[in-house]
Every structure is written in structure tokens, then in C-alpha cells.
């Protein structure tokens, strides 16, 4: 298993696997462009990643970095929009982007399932929890009776830790608490035993204690069901807790990818440094202020020239010349399995980091 992780971050297009089986979800060169009246919105502009069964990938980035759009494209939820999608998405041996609507629909909910940020708005207010869970089951089990679907629904609610499942299954979403709703969403997503679970900021709308419970639940379910999880989040605490691999996205592209430990302890992209420095941590001094990343994410219609991060990056002078302003950096290999999209050389990076961690440094301001 570990050996195959290398493929997570493949950039070159030659078949890197040398005959090895593909990871369960394998995305290469994914582009999602939305034509609008104001111009072409390049929401996702060439992203590669893959996830093995039983592993968790976290996609991290600010709002508008393209992380949700990426996974909606994988789910085929953008098919009826005007989005122009390119690249390849392989799910368990099927290429999804060129498959028919009907074929993808059959896979949605059965092989890949998704849970969403705000479970109150993601559940239909006029149908009972049971009704919605049973529907998820019966869509993919044509012959199943209502009774067996209900039985299965109760089992799943029980499994995700909803007490009194056989009674609560007949309640409406508004009668559930936030955490219970998200549990119900998870039960609904997992009822067909999908091999891929996509979680789009599943804990953002929940309070902190419930967040921890939901993450524990997801970890537990993953070890039972052995599914692959893609966790979309901007919460680096969640990433550290649950993810095996991390993909940091900025302006529709991957800026850093690698194993979670590598990305956390050897972050190699200025944007990742910014993310890590803006995260509250228990081991920081209380007097330390959180360092936000200055500026705002760029417009996806008029991306900055060269490296999309250069307007917010403190280090273009370190790189020297006008390279950051004119040339788009490629992903370079920091260590095996660990890539970053930056021109800084190893030496420059160490140098910059040493300065930044010196007391009183305000290099990011």
C-alpha cells in the first residue's frame, strides 16, 4: 500500500504505474471552467490526485480555491451546468468524465457518496429522515421493499450513533440537532456501502465538540467499511486528525501535495506556511497573534500572471528577477511523495524559514 502512494502526486503524463493497478479514485489533469458573462472562470485548472481505498485525502484551501468544485466535478454534479470539464477521472476502473449521464448517476450514491457542509440545508425539509435515507437505498436497490429499506435505514442510523433509531427515523430534519443531522447525512451516504466518500467541509457548520465526534465517527466507519475518503476542508486541525495525504489548492491548482506529516513538518510552499501560521495551536504562546495571510484569493477570471500566489507572497525578491511575475512554477519534488509549486530553491527556503522563525519576525506582514 505505502509503495503506491507515490502515484498520488504524479505530474508527468507517461504511465507512471508500470502496470500497477490504479488507485480507487484517480484524477488527472482535471480542469473545470465556467463560461460567464464576465469571462471564463477557471475554477479548477489542472489538478491531479488519487486516493486508495482505506485512505484519506484532505483537500485544503481558502474559499474559492476550487476544492469543492473539484469534487463536484468528480461526482458528476456539474454535468447539467455550463461548466466545461477536461481531464480524466477514474473511479474503480471506470472513466467518469466521458461516461453517460445515466452511468454516472448509477455510480453516484452507490460507489461514491458525498456529505455536505450544512446538514440542515442539505436535507430536504419536507421529508422525514427515514424517507430520505430509504430513498438513497432504493435508488440503487431496485427490488428492495420499503420495509427492508427502512430496516436498513434504522441499522445505519444506529451504526452512526443515533440513539433510538427506530423512533427517530420518522422524524424530520428540523427535529434533529446539528450533529445528529450530520450523522444522518453520513448514514445516508454510507447506506450503499460506497468505496469513496467525499466529505465537503462536514464539520464546518458544527460546534467544536460535535466536530470531534463526527471526525471520530468517520474514522471508525472508514476502518469498518474500508472506503476511501476525500475530505474537503479549510481546517488544518481536521487535516492533521484524519488525513493520510494532503492536497493544498490555490486558485484552482495544487500548490503543495504530499503525506500529511511531510506537509505539516516540512511545508515547502509560502501559501502552506501562511495556512499553518494562521492556525490556532495549543503549543503557541498566548501572546502570539495569529498571522493571517495578507490579501484575498485572486479573481478566477483574471488570474495573476506567473505564479498565482505572487501578489500575496513575501518572497518574490528572494527568488530574484521577475520570475514569479512572468513564469508559472511547476510542481517540484521536495522529497519523495512531496511536491510544491514554488521557485524557491531548497537553500532559499531554509534560509527564509530560519529568518521567519527568528523572534520578532514579521516576514509575512
Amino acid at each position: 500500500m505505502e509503495g503506491m502512494e507515490i502515484e498520488d502526486v504524479e505530474v508527468t503524463e507517461v504511465d507512471p504505474r508500470g502496470g500497477q493497478p490504479r488507485p480507487y479514485l484517480d484524477v488527472t489533469g482535471l480542469k473545470v471552467h465556467f463560461p460567464t458573462d464576465d469571462g471564463l472562470v477557471k475554477a479548477v485548472d489542472g489538478v491531479d490526485f488519487s486516493v486508495e481505498e482505506g485512505k484519506t485525502l484532505a483537500i485544503v484551501g481558502e474559499s474559492g480555491s476550487g476544492k469543492s468544485v473539484t469534487m463536484q466535478a468528480v461526482m458528476g454534479l456539474l454535468r447539467r451546468t455550463r461548466a466545461k470539464i477536461e481531464g480524466e477521472v477514474w473511479l474503480g476502473g471506470t472513466e467518469l468524465l466521458h461516461a453517460s449521464n445515466e452511468d454516472v448517476r448509477r455510480l453516484r450514491g452507490a460507489s461514491m457518496a458525498m456529505i455536505f457542509q450544512d446538514p440542515l440545508s442539505a436535507l430536504h425539509p419536507y421529508y422525514t429522515i427515514g424517507n430520505q435515507i430509504e430513498e438513497a437505498y432504493r435508488v440503487h436497490h431496485k427490488g428492495a421493499s420499503r420495509k427492508s429499506a427502512r430496516q436498513r435505514g434504522i441499522e445505519m442510523l444506529d451504526r452512526v450513533g443515533i440513539p433510538n433509531a427506530s423512533r427517530r427515523i420518522d422524524q424530520y430534519p428540523h427535529e434533529f440537532s446539528g450533529g445528529m443531522r450530520q450523522r444522518a447525512m453520513i448514514a445516508m451516504a454510507l447506506i450503499n456501502d460506497p468505496k469513496l466518500l467525499i466529505a465537503d467541509e462536514p464539520t464546518t457548520a458544527l460546534d467544536v465538540t460535535v466536530q470531534a465526534q463526527i471526525l471520530e465517527l468517520m474514522k471508525g466507519l472508514q476502518s469498518d467499511f474500508g472506503s476511501a475518503i476525500v475530505m474537503i476542508t479549510h481546517d488544518l486541525g481536521v487535516v492533521a486528525d484524519i488525513a493520510d495525504d494532503v492536497l493544498v489548492m490555490y486558485a484552482g491548482r495544487a500548490v503543495e501535495t504530499g503525506k500529511t506529516t511531510d506537509v505539516y513538518f516540512d511545508a515547502s510552499h509560502p501559501y502552506t506556511w501562511g495556512l499553518l501560521r494562521s492556525m490556532p495551536r495549543l503549543d503557541r504562546d498566548r501572546e502570539d497573534r495569529l498571522d493571517p495571510i495578507p490579501g484575498t484569493p485572486p479573481s478566477l477570471i483574471h488570474l495573476p500572471s506567473g505564479c498565482a500566489f505572487h501578489p500575496r507572497c513575501p518572497f518574490p525578491e528572494v527568488v530574484g528577477g521577475d520570475r514569479c511575475f512572468t513564469e508559472m512554477p511547476e510542481l517540484f519534488e521536495v522529497t519523495a511523495n512531496h511536491h510544491a509549486r514554488c521557485f524557491l530553491t531548497d537553500e532559499q527556503r531554509r534560509d527564509v524559514l530560519a529568518k521567519a522563525s527568528a523572534p520578532g519576525s514579521e516576514v509575512f506582514q
Binding site: 453516484r108 455536505f116 425539509p125
Partner: protein, 336 residues
């Protein structure tokens, strides 16, 4: 829910009392004197006084009002004036409780006069309601599904066209084209349902279609707007993510949520129209409540006007109540 209904009904009674008082007051605020109006050309002051007694307008307004309310609980005699009663005892008419009054101008009890008009209006409105609700909602869904496309523009602008036509124009247009120009149908005259459902529907078709065209226009736009609003909801994305077929996403998940507010509006429109569709009824000469309203107002027939106003209020109040109770059924978040 039962307590809620009882509370609402008690409120409705209060509303009816207020409505009837206001109607009496407005009637007396008009500069026209019905006693003078009914007196004819060669009218003497004694003649006017005579008429005033005959119409029952000689008493103070409070007494008239109390007499009207009292009629609901005990018999009334018309004319109420003792002198007139003594002069022509053979002409005394007893109106049994609950008595809604007597119209001297029609020489009939108000209820006897209005009762046959109710089924006429209900027929037109009910048939029209079914026509406009089905066509309006269906076309609204179509417009929403084809948003921005040619079909959507045709439907929305067509709806706007019909919505901006006055009702009398639409009804005259239908009458002219369908009956007189192309002779596709005969001039409709109301026949009760008891003399054949086919005839009943045939004759209702044009007046109901008039109502339907005018109202469907509004419902197309409403349905379209609510559908589009619902289409942005997260729970539809959830349904799609579950693998639910697109057809079911639209006709089950979207429609269920989009139609909820339309139920409210449809219920109220229906209630308001039950009190009569004056223009349509007049153009097609259907003797419904709307037609009766126009006539009674023209001849200042207070007893009839008061009852029509109260009837209209009852319909609206009941429609409102039904809608609110229905809401408790269709929206699980509503509790009474």
C-alpha cells in the same frame, strides 16, 4: 390543531361583525338616497317618506343594524313599519330565522334571491380554478426548466400579455372568436349540473377559460419563480448526489418545496373569487354572485349588499383557514 381551528373561527365571527358594521356605515356615507331613487319622476316628499318607511330606512342606523343581526336569531316581519303593516296586512312577509333580510326592491327574501346564484359562481370559479392551477403550474415548471431559452421567453411574455389584458377584453375576445367568428361553440348559458354534466361543462367552458387565462398567467410566473428559487437549494444537490434520477429530482424534490407557497396563494385567490367574478359573469350574462353584486350596488339594495359582503368575507376567512390548516399538513415544520 382543534384549538387552533376554534380560535380562528371565533376570530372569524368577530371579523364578520366588523365587516357588517363597516358595510352599513359605508352605505350611509354615500350621498345617494335610496328612498328618493326608488320614488320615480313625479315624487312628493310624502312619497319619499313612504318609500323610506317601506325600505326600512326611517329608523336610526343602530336600530337597523340590530334588527339585521336580530334576524339571525328570530323571525322578522317585512315591512317592519307598524303603520304599513296595519294598512296592508295581506302584504306582510314573515322571514324565518335565521333571516338574512328582505329586499323590497326584488320583493324577495335576500337568501331566496342569492341562493340560486351561488352554484353558478362556484361552478365557474371551480372549473376555472382547476384549469388555471394545472396549466399555470405545469407551464411554470416548463418555463423554469427551460430558463433563459426560447420556450421560457415565449411562456413568460405570453403570460405577461394575458395578465395585462383586462378581463372583459379577454372574455369578449373569446366570445367573439369562438362563438361569433368561427362558430365553434354556442353562446354559453348556465345550466345546472343536475341537468347533465356535459352541458354544464360545455356552458362553463368560456367563462371559466376567461378566468383561467387571466389567473394562469400569474401562476406561470409564480411557479417559475418558486421553482427557480428551489432549484438553488442544497437538498437538491444531496438528492442528485444520492443518484436520484433527474426527473424525480424535479418532480418530487423540487416541486414539493416549490408548490408549498403556491398552495397559499391559490387558496386565497379561490376564496376571493367565490364571492363572484363580476366582469366575467356580466359579459357572459351568468346570474352569479358577481352579477348580483353589480346589480345590487346599482340600485342601492342594502339588504343584498350586506349579505354579499358577509358571504365574501366568509369565503375568504374560510379559504384562509383551510390554507393555514393545510400548511400544517404539507410543511412538517409548521405546528399549531
Amino acid at each position: 390543531m382543534i384549538w387552533y381551528t376554534i380560535r380562528r373561527l371565533i376570530g372569524a365571527v368577530g371579523l364578520l361583525v366588523v365587516m357588517s358594521i363597516v358595510t352599513f356605515l359605508i352605505f350611509y356615507a354615500t350621498p345617494t338616497d335610496p328612498a328618493r331613487l326608488t320614488c320615480g319622476k313625479n315624487c312628493t316628499p310624502t312619497g319619499i317618506e313612504q318609500n323610506r318607511k317601506y325600505l326600512g330606512l326611517d329608523k336610526p342606523i343602530t336600530q337597523q343594524y340590530l334588527a339585521f343581526v336580530g334576524g339571525l336569531f328570530h323571525d322578522r316581519k317585512f315591512p317592519a313599519d307598524k303603520e304599513l303593516q296595519q294598512a296592508r296586512p295581506d302584504l306582510i312577509l314573515t322571514c324565518h330565522a335565521p333571516c338574512l333580510g328582505y329586499s323590497p326592491l326584488h320583493n324577495e327574501e335576500v337568501w331566496t334571491y342569492l341562493k340560486p346564484k351561488i352554484p353558478v359562481t362556484i361552478s365557474i370559479v371551480l372549473f376555472g380554478f382547476i384549469l388555471w392551477l394545472t396549466s399555470g403550474v405545469l407551464l411554470g415548471i416548463v418555463a423554469a426548466l427551460f430558463r433563459g431559452k426560447f420556450l421560457d421567453r415565449v411562456l413568460v411574455s405570453g403570460a405577461l400579455l394575458f395578465y395585462s389584458f383586462p378581463t372583459f377584453f379577454v372574455s369578449l375576445l373569446l366570445l367573439q372568436l369562438i362563438v361569433f367568428q368561427f362558430n365553434w361553440m354556442q353562446t354559453p348559458t348556465y345550466t345546472p349540473i343536475s341537468s347533465g354534466v356535459g352541458d354544464w361543462l360545455y356552458n362553463l367552458f368560456l367563462p371559466s377559460l376567461t378566468l383561467a387565462l387571466v389567473f394562469a398567467a400569474a401562476y406561470i410566473r409564480l411557479t417559475r419563480a418558486y421553482m427557480l428559487e428551489t432549484m438553488g437549494e442544497d437538498y437538491l444537490r444531496t438528492a442528485r448526489a444520492k443518484g436520484v434520477k433527474e426527473r424525480k429530482v424535479v418532480f418530487k424534490h423540487t416541486l414539493r418545496a416549490a408548490l408549498t407557497p403556491i398552495v397559499t396563494i391559490a387558496g386565497l385567490d379561490f376564496g376571493i373569487l367565490l364571492a363572484g367574478a363580476p366582469i366575467t359573469e356580466t359579459v357572459f350574462s351568468f346570474q352569479g354572485l358577481g352579477y348580483a353584486t353589480v346589480q345590487s350596488v346599482q340600485i342601492f339594495d342594502l339588504p343584498v349588499i350586506v349579505v354579499i359582503v358577509l358571504l365574501a368575507a366568509c369565503f375568504v376567512v374560510l379559504a384562509n383557514l383551510v390554507v393555514d390548516l393545510l400548511y400544517g399538513v404539507i410543511d412538517p415544520r409548521v405546528r399549531y
